[in-house]
Symmetry: C2
């Protein structure tokens, strides 16, 4: 099966205690697509500028990613610069140049219309809703959002949440969206807004999936997956998007959607996030094998499972 991913392609300049890189390929859609590409056919919808070259295209092509949905606009590609200090959980943004991304209007190529899965990356909630309505044949829609939209466009976001089956956000975003400090209570409030499942990403502590009562016919008990304790996180950029890619990609690769698939998907999310942060930019996601991925899946299992 296949998945359409809508989001950003960017050039990032990143400094961390492990080094510094300039204008490397990044963006939420890029991390998501690379991570998901090890599990399923990925088709992306994004916009780039004239500085996006054949070499950049090759990063997607080598992973068999369908890039017919990349719009080439006049101007420069979205650029972001940021630094991580000793606390790698938070980036200090140096600059954000939206460039061609500012006027991004996602256009779904007709060839994508038979796609079964959809992932709405972190863009304006109204754009997310438009894409979702256009692709009205999808089986399951995943989505992301961020503090900015929760604060600036709450009305639009609430409308969009009704169209999303699985929302993937972090602790802070969940609490802000629900206006509730207790995490499981926040989760229930977010689920009442529309999604059948909510994945809350805890960074270095892993992730929890909460289910709406009766969703997918699997009861509402949550499930927790760990993150790998990593001695050198070189670059945390894209960890959450890579998590989403592993999670959604694995789901799209399965015949059925049930509790066990969602649990395993949460593990694969953590696995792909762990590969992403071990190297700068998308390097850690470009040349994996399914054997390496499943090997790390076993490490995650041993990290958490009793005999």
């Amino acid at each position: 099966m296949s998945i359409v991913a809508v989001g950003s392609i960017a050039f990032d300049s990143i400094a961390s205690p492990s080094g510094r890189v300039e204008n490397i390929l990044g963006g939420s859609c890029t991390y998501f697509a690379l991570a998901a590409s090890y599990f399923t056919q990925v088709r992306i919808v994004a916009v780039v500028g004239e500085d996006f070259t054949a070499e950049h295209e090759d990063v997607f092509r080598k992973r068999g990613i369908d890039i017919r949905g990349i719009e080439h606009a006049k101007g420069k590609t979205f650029r972001w610069g940021g630094q991580y200090f000793e606390n790698l959980n938070e980036a200090k943004t140096d600059f954000t140049e939206l460039n061609v991304f500012e006027k991004f209007q996602p256009r779904i190529p007709p060839e994508y219309m038979d796609t079964e899965f959809l992932f709405l990356g972190n863009i304006h909630p109204s754009l997310q809703a438009t894409v979702r309505r256009e692709m009205n044949g999808v089986q399951l829609t995943g989505g992301d959002t961020m503090n900015y939209w929760i604060q600036k466009t709450p009305y639009e976001l609430v409308q969009t949440l009704k169209l999303i089956n699985v929302l993937l956000i972090n602790d802070t975003e969940s609490k802000m969206l629900a206006a509730e400090r207790n995490l499981p209570r926040a989760a229930q409030k977010v689920l009442a807004m529309g999604p059948q499942a909510l994945v809350i990403k805890h960074g270095e502590y892993g992730a929890t999936i909460f289910f709406r009562e009766g969703a997918f016919g699997i009861g509402r008990h949550p499930f927790r997956a760990p993150a790998l304790p990593i001695e050198e996180v070189k670059d945390p950029t894209g960890a959450g998007d890579s998590f989403a890619g592993g999670f959604m990609g694995y789901i799209a690769s399965q015949e059925q959607l049930n509790r066990e698939v969602l649990k395993r998907a949460l593990f694969y999310g953590g696995v792909m996030g762990s590969f992403a942060v071990e190297r700068f930019g998308t390097e850690g996601l470009q040349e994996l094998t399914r054997e390496e991925i499943d090997g790390r899946f076993q490490v995650f299992r041993e990290l958490t499972h009793l005999e």
Copy 2:
């Protein structure tokens, strides 16, 4: 088998969003002993004042805890007052009255000398070391400490760490002790100071146990256990001590010490912590059954285990 626990008995006055209590029985030794008492024979060493009544004694007696090591001193028992706001992870201390605890010199009753396990609660590292040296026949020693001792008595603490087999502290304490922000690297540095195993408690995200290479003959791969997502945490006081009680108590109840026992102990730590925070003070730990405990152990397993 049995375990000696050294630490504080206190009267706590606590306010949280769920309510308020005054002068209720608390203290690290109390939470630890009650939690451990469901697994093994517990013998405590602590000091109380003249305000400690037969009714307070009964809380220990009902759980079969040996209180011959409670010293009754002239004056008042240690008192602590604190408040929790919406963020239940941090207490705001209103007052600390050390009272008889200020001059506490742990005295081990001769009847305790055949005990196989020892837990050194969060007291001055030199007192911890004295107790450990006195009880030189123990098989395994667990210990706790806190930011105060890390900053004020670093030399004494480093000496004591050489005498402790398993240290149980939280993320902040681990990073401070190791002077290192990355958690797995901090863990390795702490392990190099003496302990064979280090349990890092992550609060609502569970706990990780790290092993020194070759310790207990089990390799150095870490293991993670979850915490239960709880919709109403009434009173987080004593959660870490209850965790330690479940962890050490389970270990003391087992014939052998191996990787699997340590993994299960980490789960039982989380289980006892979850019971503690559901009610005020030690209420949640006073009248459990082993069936309830093992039922929740299964909930923890289902929360984390793939099929």
